[in-house]
């Protein structure tokens, strides 16, 4: 416990410098600003804004990106409540009762409850991360190459199992992602792979190029071809702050949501995505007035929003301690860390303690910022929602072009991003999800490296992966989860888990 306090102290001493507080503030502000735009989810927001953090030092860049992430998350909830357009899967639940509240003239209250719930969830999750960071890292250091390989396979399988839609298609996207990570010169053997003689591919494909193509450009194509129906709330926003009685009434949903989100977020594979759905289902079940759910129940906003924020935050744990991103947003954070020359993994906590603890401390500061930025600025966000999409997307296009160009001052990278935009849109039309692709791409290199190391240690004997009890049980768990998800009964349950009850 003393360690946790000491480490958090170090973190706050880094994060509370004027510059880093300013960056965190700026990140939250820009993140909310972009995230509140309809049709721009957190992944797209981070991909679009990634280049503007490149000129900062590593700590500042990561703090700002984390701020952007929280801002984008909160912006997504704002759009869900006010316009009924969930920017991403996890905001779907918020839209259910939040938008109903808004139509009943309680938009302000819904936003206020979401912000306060998120703040409480964020505070608890930050403490949890600080407490778990050191032991998880120790665990990570115990892992040899074969255990790491098994853990990655398990994470990828979990990501497939938890994704919505077809299991086969999700597996195919992961395979596609890993294949794309093979493109370029193989560092081990110096052989060119999958370059088809194109010399722009010799150095491999930049992650930002893929992310901006799949999550930036493809999203635009999707929105243009298939305009979302906007249902901007015309009713008044109403008071923002809940009364003491309302806070008391929603404290239990907030705490239950926080617990659910924290646990699910730590899972490798995108567990956090389930958190708001699970929280909504539980609140509806324990509520004394379950009939109010879907018609503007406060607990139906406070619970899932807290779960969402807790999960968003604890999903940093596998990234920071094991170097394994559990979802597309964390995959982008890996990309950002690599650009800054930091290889994520259990060694970061020892080699860059200031960065590690500074980032964790800044998470809490980010949550405070959200509270003080968002509530007073609601009026501005509402007005932003009225900006027509035909004026928004050309701005996003120019931003992405300049951003990708400045990565390496290379116009070819811009063209390649355009190509991935087309690929991403085609994948969307064919009902493939881009998130597993991004995850496969980011983990691909590490996967191959660990595979090689493990086989060198075992003199080429592939049974090494089932020889160690840890890797055997991880792989067993993966096989079990995959088999389970293919069972007809579980499949039906899985499909309904993603549908509003």
């Amino acid at each position: 416990m003393g360690d946790v306090i000491g480490n958090l102290g170090l973190g706050f001493s880094v994060a509370l410098t004027l510059k880093n507080v300013a960056l965190c503030f700026l990140g939250c502000l820009i993140g909310t600003l972009v995230g509140v735009l309809p049709g721009v989810g957190p992944v797209a927001t981070i991909a679009i804004l990634l280049p503007i953090t490149m000129s900062l030092d590593p700590i500042g860049a990561l703090i700002m990106l984390a701020g952007i992430y929280y801002g984008a998350q909160y912006g997504g909830s704002t759009t869900a409540i006010l316009v009924n357009i969930p920017g991403e899967a996890t905001a779907v639940v918020t839209a259910l009762d939040g938008h109903q509240m808004a139509r009943n003239g309680e938009a302000g209250l819904a936003l206020g409850l979401a912000a306060i719930g998120s703040f409480i969830a964020g505070t608890i999750a930050t403490l949890l991360i600080a407490a778990l960071a050191a032991p998880m890292t120790k665990l990570g250091l115990l892992f040899g190459p074969s255990e790491y390989f098994a853990l990655m396979i398990m994470g990828l399988v979990f990501a497939v199992v938890l994704a919505r839609g077809s299991v086969l298609k999700a597996v195919a996207m992961i395979v596609f992602g890993v294949l794309l990570s093979c493109v370029g010169t193989d560092l081990e053997t110096g052989r060119e792979r999958l370059t088809f003689g194109v010399h722009h591919l010799y150095d491999g494909i930049e992650f930002v190029v893929i992310a901006m193509g799949l999550f930036g450009f493809a999203e635009i194509l999707k929105n243009i071809a298939d305009p979302e129906k906007r249902d901007v709330v015309r009713a008044r926003i109403g008071r923002l702050l809940p009364t003491a009685a309302e806070i008391r009434g929603n404290l239990a949903p907030i705490l239950r949501g926080t617990a659910l989100g924290s646990v699910l977020g730590i899972l490798p594979g995108n567990g956090a995505i389930l958190a708001p759905f699970a929280s909504y289902a539980i609140e509806k079940r324990v509520s004394r007035q379950p009939e109010t759910f879907g018609k503007g129940a406060q607990a139906g906003v406070a619970g899932p929003e807290s779960a969402n924020n807790a999960g968003a935050q604890t999903s940093f744990i596998p990234l920071l301690t094991l170097g394994l991103p559990p979802n597309a947003v964390m995959a982008l954070m890996v990309g950002a860390m690599l650009i800054q020359g930091i290889v994520p993994g259990p060694q970061v906590i020892d080699r860059n303690p200031q960065l590690f603890w500074g980032l964790i401390a800044s998470m809490w500061i980010g949550n405070v910022m959200l509270l003080i930025i968002n509530l007073p600025l609601i009026g501005i966000w509402v007005r932003l929602l009225a900006v027509p999409y035909r004026l928004l997307f050309p701005a996003i296009v120019l931003f992405c072009c300049i951003g990708v160009y400045s990565l390496s001052n290379d116009a070819t990278a811009v063209l390649m991003t355009g190509l991935f935009g087309l690929i991403g849109y085609a994948l969307y039309r064919l009902d493939f999800e881009p998130a597993p692709l991004a995850l496969g791409f980011v983990l691909g290199k590490l996967l191959e490296e660990k595979l090689r190391q493990a086989l060198i240690i075992s003199n080429g004997d592939p049974t090494t992966f089932v020889g160690s009890p840890i890797s055997a049980s991880l792989l067993g768990l993966a096989v079990f989860a995959l088999a389970l998800s293919l069972l007809p009964r579980v499949r039906r349950g899985r499909d309904t888990a993603f549908k509003e009850s």
Binding site: K169, L194, V397, Y405, S406, T417, G418
Partner: protein, 173 residues
């Protein structure tokens, strides 16, 4: 829904035009292409895993998944794919290409273009991209392209210090 677009008749009908059949076909093609690009690589080396093991095995898995998807699509009733949104895709890709060739110029045999810098590339990109929607208004788009370019110029070049060309033909950088 995935199947709304701005027009065009479906290219084929029935099972061959169903979403899941095309999805399977796409996986098969990508897997096959990846196999072509990696099949000459060694799967094993004297010291362990060769550079071909991962790409070759993944290509084969991808092709198998494609075949399985095609098989599944025979029984699943996935919706028929409708036409491709040509206006949106060509305007967006056009804007990206315009940006890529004007920002630093190109020198590709017959295609010669001097570096025009952000002052020209910015407004052009915004304008062409804006044509992607049917509700585009030219006057509004003109104003937007000028304003946005000025903003990006200040932000990226002067605010963030990125070495992006501004107007090489006018001021030399």
């Amino acid at each position: 829904m995935a199947d709304v677009s701005d027009g065009g008749p479906p290219a084929a009908t029935g099972w061959m035009a169903s979403r899941d059949f095309v999805a399977g076909l796409a996986l098969l093609l990508v897997g096959g292409g990846a196999l072509l690009g990696s099949m000459e690589l060694p799967v094993k080396t004297s010291s362990g895993v060769g550079s071909g093991l991962l790409p070759i095995s993944l290509s084969l898995i991808m092709m198998a998944l494609g075949l399985a998807q095609i098989g599944l699509s025979w029984r699943s009733a996935s919706p028929t794919l409708s036409g491709w949104p040509w206006r949106g895709t060509s305007a967006l890709i056009g804007a990206i290409v315009v940006f890529a060739i004007t920002i630093r110029g190109v020198n590709l045999g017959p295609l010669q273009l001097p570096a025009l810098g952000l002052v020209i590339a910015g407004p052009l990109t915004v304008f062409v991209a804006g044509l992607a929607t049917t509700d585009a208004r030219l006057g509004q788009l003109g104003l937007l392209s000028a304003g946005l370019s000025a903003f990006c110029l200040l932000l990226f070049r002067y605010g963030l210090g990125q070495p992006i060309p501004v107007a090489p033909w006018l001021i030399g950088y």
